[in-house]
């Protein structure tokens, strides 16, 4: 076998290991999917009436706000899963078996790719569940099949980028607690963007931040694909962000993993 096929085989082995962990201890997965669903229900049924009227005028209904808020909620699901990845990686690094892997003749990066692919699968499952609940509470997209595929593709790329970033955050954290706190800002990013209210309504400083952070173009792209609002260059910007996060996160994580482990 070539080096590449060893890397693929070892990554698949590590992926199976991580999927078994998730399957055997589903509480973490359930909690990560639970957070965005609770937020969805909160924003639709508690804030939805007032916010919908504020955004689309006094005639707007709760249903209009569901459509507005779902892209932000879906990105919240990605951020929440990413936090779970960071915790899982930091916990795994405290296990003796990682030391064993390091002394074995295996593709080194496979430990990390196993985590990343496992987390992306977990995130996508979470997103499907969140979208299912959104449809139940009145989300009415007008997307074609092709637009749905494009939306899921964008979501997978985002999940990949943020997962590589949080794998690195999990590795750089000195403890599991730190690994849980470090990615916290990611959870807040959808709020400091166009996820819940339009950026026009924010004061200048925050508006400037909101317009240039990665979640805003992603939200606008998803909104465009699902609801037919203009996308403009948001899709390109989103894909560029995903590529940067994936490559940057990968290189950082690989460098951190190749350091001498703490003893």
């Amino acid at each position: 076998m070539s080096t590449l096929s060893y890397t693929v085989a070892d990554s698949a082995t590590m992926l199976r290991r991580n999927l078994k962990h998730m399957q055997r201890y589903p509480s973490v997965t359930l909690m990560l999917i639970g957070l965005p669903i609770v937020m969805l229900l909160l924003f639709v049924y508690v804030f939805g009436g007032a916010l919908g009227a504020g955004i689309d005028g006094p005639t707007a209904s709760r249903g209009d706000y569901v459509n507005y808020v779902v892209p932000g909620i879906v990105l919240l699901a990605i951020a929440s899963s990413a936090q779970g990845t960071s915790i899982a990686v930091a916990m795994d690094m405290t296990e003796g078996i990682i030391a064993r892997f390091r002394t074995m003749s295996i593709a080194r990066v496979s430990v990390l790719t196993g985590h990343v692919i496992g987390s992306v699968i977990q995130t996508m499952v979470g997103i499907v569940v969140v979208l299912g609940v959104a449809l139940l509470v009145g989300f009415r997209p007008n997307a074609s099949l092709a637009e749905w595929m494009a939306a899921l593709g964008i979501l997978a790329l985002l999940a990949l980028g943020f997962t590589w970033l949080t794998v690195a955050l999990g590795l750089v954290s000195p403890s599991v607690e730190a690994a849980s706190n470090l990615p916290m800002p990611l959870i807040l990013l959808p709020f400091f963007g166009s996820g819940f209210v339009p950026t026009d309504s924010m004061p200048v400083g925050i508006r400037w931040f909101a317009e240039y952070q990665p979640f805003t173009p992603a939200i606008e792209t998803l909104r465009g694909l699902w609801l037919g609002t203009p996308i403009g260059n948001n899709a390109i910007i989103t894909i560029a962000w995903c590529a940067a996060l994936t490559v940057g996160g990968y290189l950082w994580a690989r460098r951190l993993y190749n350091r001498d482990p703490a003893h």
Binding site: R17, K20, Y25, G96, A99, R100, R102, M104, D260, P261
Partner: protein
């Protein structure tokens, strides 16, 4: 003139190992050679640097200085070749607690690319050999310490490594599990596997090792066979206890002042522990009709060596012989 025509390279050859963590020097110039098929024991108190040596030789951490060749491969240049020749069982169990015993073993065989059928067969064999069949499909988090340690070693054996590092393989095990572990290690040696083990237990090094190096403060303070090390420290004697002071006095007289009174009614006579020496001593006492209440033979053990060589201000190297 004789010449050696073929020389198999030693399984492990390291010279000039140095390692510091920040200002703290952990290894200060370590040289060691382990011939193929032998057991080498690193003996030393906590913090002496035993684990650091294992971590460096098993490619887990890098050395600050020194040359290392394992199974003939240069560790710095070709760590992956080294990794495929070695197996490591660390001090803290290197098992996946969320998986079952069988799953842990097949995880190893998958990573060694042995193929599915062969991997499953090997897992079943190892579970049998290490007495883990009943627990095979239970998650490892439910295992006892001894079971985890056996599974750990079983995982190390997947892929048939010819050089095995065991870092304190029996620390924390009950006496029975310890014996079981010793038997497993002896079986491996019988198969020609080279073993480097660390231990705090002197009897363990004595039982298993062909050569022992005593490590203290990041340096070897002595090394040799267990016999050579024991010869380093005085302390072999026969202890005689008498019923009354009269017996003691006449024995002291009969032995021409060779012995010295230890405590109360006991006399210590220097001895090399040999049967002939012992017989000569007893004959002497018999000739004088001296009654001895109790006789104990004390041969120096590695405990004596350990206490004599390690500890504060004992950092000088002692030459064997």
């Amino acid at each position: 003139m004789t010449t050696t025509t073929t020389t198999t390279p030693p399984a492990i050859a390291a010279t000039g190992l140095r390692k510091a963590f920040g200002d703290h020097v952990v290894l200060d110039g370590i040289d060691l050679t382990v011939p193929e098929g032998t057991v080498f024991a690193l003996l030393g108190p906590n913090g002496a640097g035993k684990t650091t040596i294992v971590h460096i030789l098993s490619t887990l951490i890098t050395t600050d200085a020194g040359d290392i060749r394992i199974a003939g491969h240069d560790l710095a240049a070709d760590p992956d070749r080294v990794r495929s020749a070695i197996g490591v069982t660390g001090q803290f169990s290197a098992v996946d607690n969320l998986l079952t015993g069988t799953e842990n073993l097949t995880l190893m065989s998958d990573l060694r690319h042995l193929g599915k059928a062969a991997g499953r067969r090997l897992a079943a064999e190892l579970l049998e050999r290490f007495d883990l069949v009943d627990a095979a499909s239970k998650p490892v988090s439910t295992y006892s310490g001894g079971m985890k340690r056996r599974l750990d070693l079983a995982m190390t054996l997947v892929g048939d490594p010819r050089i095995i590092f065991l870092d304190e393989p029996t620390t924390g095990l009950d006496p029975r599990s310890r014996r079981t572990m010793w038997d497993i290690i002896r079986d491996l040696v019988a198969d020609g596997v080279t073993i480097l083990l660390t231990t705090q237990y002197l009897d363990e090094a004595d039982e298993l090792a062909d050569r022992i190096a005593v490590l203290d403060g990041g340096r070897f303070v002595a090394d040799g066979t267990p016999e050579e090390l024991k010869r380093l420290v005085p302390g072999g004697h026969v202890q005689l206890r008498f019923a009354d002071p009269r017996g003691l006095a006449s024995a002291a007289h009969a032995l021409d002042g060779q012995g010295h009174t230890a405590t109360g009614l006991t006399l210590q006579v220097p001895s090399d522990g040999s049967l002939r020496g012992l017989k000569r001593l007893l004959d002497r006492l018999d000739d004088e009709s001296i009654e001895v209440e109790e006789l104990t033979v004390h041969t120096p053990d590695l405990d004596d060596v350990f206490f004599a060589l390690t500890g504060p201000n004992k950092n000088e190297r002692v030459e064997t012989r």
